[in-house]
Symmetry: C2
Subunit: 145 residues, 2 copies
Amino acid sequence: MKSSHKLSDAVHILTYIELLPNDDLSSAAIARSVESNPSLIRRLMSQLTQAGLLTTQAGKATPKLSRPAATISLRDVLHAIDPAPQLLSIDDKTNPQCLVGGNIQQTLNDVYEEVQTAAEAKMASISLQSIIDELLVHAANKPTD
Amino acid sequence: MKSSHKLSDAVHILTYIELLPNDDLSSAAIARSVESNPSLIRRLMSQLTQAGLLTTQAGKATPKLSRPAATISLRDVLHAIDPAPQLLSIDDKTNPQCLVGGNIQQTLNDVYEEVQTAAEAKMASISLQSIIDELLVHAANKPTD
DNA sequence: ACACATGTTACTTTAAAAATAACAGGATTG
DNA sequence: CAATCCTGTTATTTTTAAAGTAACATGTGT
């Protein structure tokens, strides 16, 4: 499969809006930064808006974070773009007649849930603000700016 | 993308070999349990063998775990089939001219590594034996067996 | 009215995984 | 030693979910 980077793009969008509030915040401008297309950006922004992370206005390029960046976690962003994220995926086509094939799915489901919970706990501890702070450190440390 | 379930299949294979040692352990038989094809099974088994988790013999259908199932972790299996697993994926095509686009990749790389480490720590704590034990509980609790 | 924006739906392209095929060799049996 | 079944590996085709693109109804401000 082609691995999804929707989460990365969503974080990118939120960071852009928070860090460059005086720039052009149209979907076209953000798309130029993401090197993607405006339609994709609008779809992601729509999901972020529906999740209550972003405030937008139809017709006006004036998106704003709905809450302080310090109170938005990476997990919040993930759940905004995917209500039931699965980092690990189960093979749902196994032989039900077999002891292993017939029980491995439920078993792995339990196991993967543990891993998912651990990963999401870490994600819940990482705020958009900390990501922005780190990005600025990276930018400051660049040789040629 | 199509999300990979190689990890699930690899666990399935190891579980099958450990739990049904007196059954036919040919790639064709295992493929019937996974509902996949023998070639795929052989490729996965080859990776597991190279990682030192499985002992196989060309020409003979007699695979065996190289170590006790209690000493094989889910993380070991993951690394056997993918030396550099990435649960979250970065968008590697962003505008380098932009403050955000030019620094988001390194930033997310750091952030995702934290999440990856948390997930892998949990995976390291889950043994193949515990997965097998849980599978047997599931099998025992099935209404119609 | 016009220019430009969002929000949403539908369609096309793409790339990674899975499926399949093929075959060189090892093992076992009669 | 021929026949048969197996493994291990490579190459090719098919599938499918994400990304890319297009289109358009509708909101906004001059």
